[in-house]
């Protein structure tokens, strides 16, 4: 009887397993293979009915990270980094702020909750179109100060070419090694405090090694034979605003659920112990919201890494100052017929998203098993 149940369950799952295997993992595999091929470098094969493509090793990846023309891809990675950073900070901050405000037992809470959550119901393409209109140089946000008699703003929200916080692409390995060294130093310190001396020693050694390598200017690794400056494109400010506007309501809903999950007894106990209202949040509520913050960061983080439609709608596909890897992937594949290079960009994106998602999935799966 039992084995019969299992068979039925397996048969019920089979169709979706097969579909997933083909349309998710099969296609990921296909993309990985294409990214290692030369598809597109020979115009007689690029769009042939049955393209003959050959293995090319990591040539496409090498080109992306060190080729002259692919400076655009490298700037796109920098853009993604800054966009993700400001998007996460803005959305989490605003979402938490709204949630705490709504948690103060305001009247008509349901109405406000709906209003704040509403932008989340829109498609990014709608948000993008609306905000593109609002951020036009001679209208929208820029003429708001005129309502109170001030001169209009002159800022070119989406088209400014201004770039700040510039750095040389060749120093990226040093930054990465430095960041890894700082993380390892922190882990070593924790291990030391826990008393696992051997682990702490190994981690400390790695810290010193990586840190020294970074400080010495990463000998042995030269990305480019010339300096290449990248930085934060100020044109992204408008896009960050639109993205935060869209997603902070959703984050608020997540936090609100988390806040409702904090038992009233805990708060009462803290108050009895003499905590101020600020202290209750600082020492009781916020620590309990840790897991929610992590989930929100994962969800928002992978949205920001693969963002495409919002930027397409706001700035168009050709505005290189507001470019991101996902847009470039489309342009390379379908405009320049460089399918292998487009696939390589897709794989880089996949790896970036996976580094965000996989550790989270692993830890949450482990948690479930324990339960």
């Amino acid at each position: 009887m039992r084995s019969n149940d299992r068979l039925v369950a397996f048969l019920m799952l089979l169709p979706s397993l097969v579909l997933l295997a083909i349309f998710v993992y099969g296609f990921i595999g296909r993309t990985a293979w294409v990214s290692l091929s030369n598809w597109g470098s020979d115009p007689t094969q690029a769009l042939a009915l049955d393209p003959q493509i050959a293995f090319a090793g990591l040539a496409n990846y090498r080109k992306l990270f060190t080729g002259i023309i692919d400076v655009r891809f490298r700037q796109d990675l920098v853009n993604t980094f800054f966009f993700t950073l400001f998007f996460l900070v803005g959305t989490l901050g605003l979402g938490l702020g709204l949630a705490i405000l709504l948690d103060q037992k305001v009247r008509m809470e349901g109405l406000f909750r709906t209003i704040f959550l509403f932008p989340f119901a829109l498609a990014f393409i709608v948000t993008g179109t609306v905000w593109r209109w609002m951020l036009q140089p001679q209208g929208g946000v820029n003429v708001l100060p005129e309502l109170v008699g001030l001169p209009p703003l002159e800022f070119r929200w989406l088209t400014t070419r201004q770039q700040i916080w510039q750095f040389d692409w060749n120093s990226v390995p040093a930054f990465l090694a430095g960041a890894a060294a700082v993380t390892l130093a922190f882990m070593a310190w924790r291990a030391w405090r826990r008393g696992t001396r051997v682990r702490a020693g190994v981690q400390a050694a790695w810290t010193v090694g990586l840190g020294g390598w970074a400080v010495a200017g990463t000998p042995g690794v030269t990305l480019l034979p010339y300096p290449e400056m990248h930085g934060f494109n100020v044109a992204f400010v408008g896009i960050v605003i639109a993205a935060v506007w869209q997603m902070s309501g959703y984050t608020m809903a997540l936090y609100l659920a988390g806040l409702r999950g904090v038992p009233e007894e805990l708060r009462e106990a803290a108050r009895v112990d003499g905590a101020s209202e600020f202290g209750v949040y600082r020492h009781v509520v916020l620590p309990l919201l840790g897991p929610i913050t992590l989930s929100a960061m994962i969800i928002l983080g992978h949205i920001s890494l693969k963002i495409f439609d919002l930027i397409w709608a706001m700035a168009g596909s050709d505005n290189a100052t507001t470019d991101v890897p996902a847009l470039l992937m489309y342009l390379r594949s379908f405009r320049a017929n460089a399918f292998a290079e487009g696939a390589a960009i897709a794989m880089v994106l996949l790896i970036m998203v996976a580094t965000v998602i996989v550790p989270y999935l692993r830890s949450s799966l482990r948690g479930e098993v324990r339960r």
Binding site: G40, P43, L47, L49, I69, Y330, R335, N337
Partner: protein
């Protein structure tokens, strides 16, 4: 295996379609340009009462989206019967190279196209192996637009070359708070660049860039970028946010003096803004390119494996014929590539363009797919980006040469 299955299934589906007498025409002509295509389709249906024309359009200027859709269809083995494509290397470098097009030399000879199209045009849409598409219209890229009355009021004249523009016209206009030259979003930079390159290099060296005999790193070619940079100093600083129509609006509205744009701008000013050619707006060859007609053309080709091949060939016959071209172009606001079109049907601007078309030297456009393959054209946007962000003529020239090598330009 999977691919063969898809092809087989597509063939099965399409054989069903053929039985009903259908022909699918794929293009990016929607909106303002839709009526011109409709006129052609009506003519076709009048000739072929038993055939339904499926008008498959994918919107997006210059075919940016249509081309992506077409590629996925062609890769999947599902070609339309005939599709719109920029004549020249955009077709040759992508579809002819991949062996997906049929040679139309027979059709050209049969219909007498060899005699009515200029020989330079036929040369630029052919390879050694054949002629690949039937051009339906001709647009001119190197046109300078202005409002004659405004120029008089500001006391400037149409500059004869770029050095006059930079040294004389530009400072005179800037003193009066007028934008000397208005630019729009990114591709209009490429559009301006090709006119500047033609002016600075001359016809021979300009063509040399595309057949590989002149390097982008040649001192003359580097100097193009320097001139281009000096021209940008005379342009508006909010270019990236403007469509080409908004840029034209600034000239018409008197905020800017000049604009270099293709002659679809004339169609916009005549049809949408209701201006009279010659009075409401004036035109000249862009500075330093007098006597040269930089052309681009929309054309239709015959893909290998077209489901209704006979119907498609008839479509191409109509597209190249005098009645077809005159019906189409008078509505589209372009001229006919045929040297025998009925000029009385066209407006004053188009008549002058048609006269130039038959008398001037012809060169092809880069920004609109005539002289360079799609791969190069698409990457050229990155070269432009490098120039705009670094302002270095050498960096741009080196990058241009790098992509020319990488994409095998001129081979």
């Amino acid at each position: 295996m999977v691919q063969r299955l898809i092809v087989w299934m597509a063939a099965l589906l399409l054989s069903g379609a053929m039985a009903q007498g259908e022909i699918e025409i794929f293009s990016w002509w929607a909106g303002d340009e839709g009526p011109a295509l409709e006129a052609l389709i009506e003519l076709y249906e009048a000739q072929h009462a038993d055939t339904d024309v499926i008008n498959a359009t994918v919107t997006g200027g210059s075919g940016v989206n249509a081309r992506a859709v077409l590629k996925t269809r062609m890769l999947g083995g599902d070609p339309p019967d005939s599709f719109q494509v920029h004549a020249g290397q955009e077709l040759i470098g992508t579809w002819v190279a991949a062996n997906r097009m049929e040679d139309l030399t027979g059709l050209f000879e049969e219909e007498g196209f060899m005699d009515v199209f200029p020989s330079t045009l036929i040369e630029q849409i052919s390879t050694e192996d054949g002629i690949w598409s039937v051009p339906v219209n001709i647009h001119r890229s190197n046109v300078l637009w202005f409002v004659p009355g405004n120029l008089d009021a500001w006391g400037v004249t149409v500059p004869a070359d770029w050095s006059e523009f930079i040294d004389v016209t530009c400072p005179a206009l800037q003193m009066q708070d007028v934008t000397p030259l208005v630019l729009g979003e990114n591709w209009t930079h490429n559009h301006l660049w090709e006119s500047v390159a033609l002016a600075e290099l001359g016809v021979e060296a300009y063509n040399g860039l595309w057949d590989g005999t002149v390097a982008f790193t040649d001192p003359e070619a580097v100097a193009v970028w320097e001139t281009f940079g000096a021209i940008l100093d005379c342009a508006n600083d909010d270019a990236a946010g403007l469509s080409w129509q908004q840029a034209t609006d600034r000239v018409v509205g008197g905020e800017a003096a000049f604009n270099v744009m293709g002659d679809w701008a004339a169609g916009y000013m005549v049809t949408t803004l209701n201006l009279d050619p010659g009075e409401g707006f004036g035109w000249a060859a862009s500075p330093g390119t007098d006597g040269v007609f930089m052309w681009l053309s929309d054309s239709f080709g015959l893909p290998v494996g077209a489901p209704n091949r006979d119907g498609a060939v008839d479509w191409l016959r109509l597209v190249g014929s005098q009645p077809g071209q005159d019906a189409f172009n008078t509505l589209k606001g372009s001229i006919s590539p045929r040297l025998d079109s009925d000029l009385s049907l066209y407006n004053a601007y188009l008549q002058s363009a048609a006269a130039d078309w038959s008398e001037n030297e012809l060169v092809g456009s880069l920004a609109h797919g005539t002289v360079a393959k799609e791969t190069f054209m698409s990457e050229f946007a990155t070269v432009m980006e490098i120039f705009l962000s670094t302002g270095s003529a050498d960096a741009a020239a080196n990058a241009a040469q790098a992509i020319a090598n990488q994409t095998g330009l001129g081979q």
